[in-house]
C-alpha cells in the first residue's frame, strides 16, 4: 500500500506538527517502510489467534486494577496553573477559541 506525501502532511496536520520539506520526505519514506512491514505481517496465518489489544499484556490479560471511589485532595490552584504559559483569575488562559 503506497503512501503519499499528502497523507503524511495530513497526519502531521492532525497532530498539529509542522515539518520542513526534507523532513516530510523522510517521514514519507519511513511510513512506507512501516506499512510494507505491516503488509508482510498480514500474510501470516492468524486463524484462531486472539487479537492482541495490548502489546504489554499477556493474551489472557492482566486484570485491570480498580480504584475505589474515594475523593482525594487535588493540587492547589496555583500549582495546577504553575506550568501554564498564561493564567488569570484562577483559569488557564488561551488564545480565543470559539
Amino acid at each position: 500500500m503506497p503512501i503519499t506525501r499528502d497523507e503524511v502532511l495530513k497526519i502531521a496536520d492532525l497532530a498539529r506538527l509542522r515539518f520542513s520539506e526534507e523532513e516530510l520526505d523522510g517521514f514519507t519514506a519511513q511510513f512506507q517502510d512501516i506499512l510494507d512491514y505491516i503488509e508482510r505481517l498480514r500474510q501470516v496465518d492468524v486463524e484462531g489467534v486472539e487479537p492482541t489489544i495490548h502489546v504489554s499484556l499477556p493474551a489472557d490479560g492482566a486484570p485491570l486494577m480498580f480504584r475505589e471511589d474515594e475523593p482525594r485532595e487535588s493540587l492547589p490552584v496555583e500549582e495546577a496553573l504553575g506550568n501554564a504559559p498564561d493564567a488569570a483569575a484562577g483559569h488557564f488562559r488561551v488564545p480565543k477559541v470559539l
Partner: protein, 492 residues
C-alpha cells in the same frame, strides 16, 4: 412527495461518583475554578489513569437497564483531538468494543396535536445502539472575564469526570418520540441513581442526528448533527425546525449538506457551525495505559439482579394494579419518590383513584407553589391517605377536604386533628339536619310553593341554603334525601 424524519440521539450522562473516572479528584459541581485537578486529569507527562470501580458499576447498571448486552471485555481507546479543555490531547473513550451494545427500551410515546396536547400515548420500542464510558472535557469560558475579545479561559474541574455516552438507533419518526425517549431515559438514570439528570449543570447533555427521506424509502437521508440542545424543550423545537428545513431543501430540489448545526434558542433556528474538515478524524487507537475492562459474567448477572424496578415496568404495573390510564401512570412515575408516595397513599387510603387525583392535583400544585420536592412534602403520604379516608367515610365532604388539605400544607398537622380543631366534621346527624331544614323551609314559603307546583328544580336553592346554614358541613347526600321528603310534604 411526503417526507419522514429519522432522528437519532446521543446522550451524555455524568455518572454520580464522588471522584473522577481515572483519578481521585472530586467531581463536586461549583468548586472554585481549577481547584479539582491533579497530574492525571491535567494530562501531565507520566501520570497514569486508574479506573473508578463505582463508575464502572454505574455504567453497567445503565447498560443493563437499557437492555444492552454488557460485553465481558470492553476496550478503552484514545480519541485524539486538540482543544484547550482537553489537556491530554485525547479523550479516553471506547470505540470498537464499548461496554454495552444492542439494547432497546420501551417508551410510552404519543403524538402532539397543533394545540400542544399529547394524545394517543402508546408503547413504542426504540433501539439503543451502544453505551460506552468516557471521561469529560473541561469548560471553556468565552466571556465575562478580562480580555475575552482575544482570550478564552479554561476551567479543568470537569475534566476527567465519568460519563456514559448513550447512542440511540435512528428510530424516532417525530420530535415527540425523541422527546418522550429522552425523558424516559433521564427518568431511568434517575431511578438507577447513576446520574442526577441536571441539564443546567451539564450532567445530562444531548445531541441529535436528523435526516429526512421520502416516506417509504429504506435508505436514510443525509444526516445533520445538531448541538447545543440545553433542554428537552429546546431539543424538540430544534428538531421541528431542522426537519422542516430539510424538507424545504429537498422539496426545492436541493441537497442536504452533512454538517454540524447549532441551535439558537433566541432566534428559534439552527445555523451551520463551520467545522474543520478533519474534525471527525479522531485516529482512535487502544488506550495503552489501560488494560481491557474485563467483567465477570457472574458479577454482571449480580448487578442485573439488583436493579430496581424501572420506570417503564412501574408504569405498567400502576396501570394494571391501580386501573390508571397511561397519562396518569406516566405522571405518577415521573420520579421514584413520586411513585413511592403515590403507592403508599393508595395502599393506606385503599382508594388508588382518589390518591392519584390528590397527588397529581392538589399536592402537585402545593409543591409547585412552595417550590419543594415531594420528598420534603409537608403532607406525608400517610397523612394524605388519612384525609382521603375521612372523605370516604363521610366524615367530611370533598369540598371541606380541600380546605383541610390547605391547612395541612400550611401547618403540617394531621388531618384528623385539624378537622376536630376547626370544627369541620361533616354533619350527618339526622335530627340536627332536620332542624336546619325545617328552619330553611319555614323561611322560604315562596320557594316551597314553587316546588309543590312542580318546579322541583328549586330544590337546589334549598340545598344551598342548608349548606350555608351549616357552613358547608352538612352531609350533601343526606340533605338531598331529607329535603325531598320534607318538600314533598312528608313528615320525618
Amino acid at each position: 412527495m411526503t417526507f419522514e424524519p429519522a432522528i437519532g440521539l446521543e446522550v451524555h450522562a455524568q455518572l454520580l461518583t464522588g471522584s473522577k473516572l481515572f483519578c481521585g479528584c472530586s467531581t463536586r459541581f461549583g468548586a472554585p475554578p481549577n481547584s479539582q485537578t491533579c497530574p492525571v486529569c491535567l494530562g501531565l507527562p507520566g501520570a497514569l489513569p486508574a479506573i473508578n470501580r463505582q463508575a464502572v458499576t454505574m455504567a453497567v447498571k445503565a447498560a443493563l437497564a437499557l437492555g444492552c448486552r454488557v460485553n465481558p471485555v470492553s476496550v478503552f481507546a484514545r480519541k485524539n483531538y486538540f482543544y484547550p479543555d482537553m489537556p491530554r490531547g485525547y479523550q479516553i473513550s471506547q470505540f470498537d468494543l464499548p461496554l454495552g451494545e444492542h439494547g432497546s427500551i420501551a417508551v410510552f410515546s404519543g403524538e402532539r396535536t397543533d394545540g400542544g396536547k399529547i394524545v394517543n400515548r402508546r408503547e413504542k420500542t426504540f433501539g439503543i445502539t451502544r453505551l460506552h464510558m468516557e471521561d469529560d472535557a473541561g469548560k471553556s469560558i468565552h466571556d465575562g472575564l478580562p480580555e475575552t475579545e482575544t482570550k478564552s479561559y479554561v476551567n479543568l474541574n470537569r475534566t476527567g469526570v465519568p460519563l456514559v455516552e448513550i447512542v440511540s438507533a435512528p428510530d424516532f419518526r417525530s420530535s415527540q418520540e425523541a422527546y418522550d425517549f429522552v425523558v424516559h431515559l433521564r427518568k431511568t438514570l434517575l431511578y438507577l441513581g447513576v446520574c442526577d439528570g441536571n441539564m443546567e449543570e451539564g450532567s445530562l447533555r444531548c445531541d441529535a442526528n436528523v435526516s429526512v427521506r421520502p416516506k417509504g424509502t429504506a435508505a436514510l437521508g443525509t444526516k445533520v448533527e445538531i448541538k447545543n440542545l440545553n433542554s428537552f424543550r429546546f431539543m424538540q423545537r430544534a428538531l421541528d425546525y431542522e426537519i422542516e428545513r430539510q424538507k424545504r431543501v429537498l422539496s426545492g430540489g436541493g441537497r442536504v449538506v452533512q454538517e454540524t448545526r447549532l441551535w439558537d434558542e433566541s432566534e428559534g433556528r439552527t445555523f451551520s457551525m463551520r467545522s474543520k474538515e478533519e474534525a471527525h478524524d479522531y485516529r482512535y487507537f487502544p488506550e495503552p495505559d489501560l488494560p481491557p475492562l474485563r467483567l465477570d459474567p457472574e458479577w454482571i448477572a449480580g448487578v442485573a439482579a439488583e436493579l430496581p424496578e424501572l420506570p417503564g415496568a412501574r408504569m405498567k404495573r400502576f396501570m394494571s394494579d391501580y386501573a390508571l390510564g397511561a397519562d396518569d401512570a406516566l405522571l405518577l412515575t415521573s420520579t421514584a419518590a413520586t411513585a413511592a408516595y403515590f403507592e403508599e397513599c393508595a395502599r393506606e387510603s385503599a382508594n388508588p383513584r382518589a390518591a392519584a387525583n390528590w397527588v397529581m392535583g392538589d399536592l402537585a400544585r402545593a409543591l409547585k407553589n412552595s417550590g419543594g420536592e415531594i420528598e420534603e412534602s409537608p403532607v406525608t403520604a400517610r397523612e394524605l391517605a388519612a384525609l382521603i379516608r375521612t372523605i370516604d367515610s363521610g366524615e367530611i365532604s370533598g369540598k371541606i377536604a380541600k380546605t383541610v388539605f390547605e391547612e395541612m400544607v400550611r401547618t403540617g398537622e394531621p388531618a384528623v386533628d385539624l378537622i376536630g380543631r376547626m370544627g369541620l366534621r361533616q354533619v350527618s346527624d339526622e335530627a340536627s339536619l332536620v332542624a336546619v331544614i325545617d328552619k330553611v323551609i319555614a323561611a322560604n314559603p315562596k320557594q316551597l310553593e314553587e316546588y309543590r307546583s312542580g318546579k322541583t328544580r328549586v330544590i337546589a336553592y334549598f340545598v344551598g341554603q342548608v349548606m350555608k346554614e351549616t357552613r358547608g358541613q352538612a352531609n350533601p347526600r343526606m340533605v338531598n334525601e331529607l329535603l325531598e321528603r320534607k318538600l314533598a310534604g312528608g313528615s320525618t
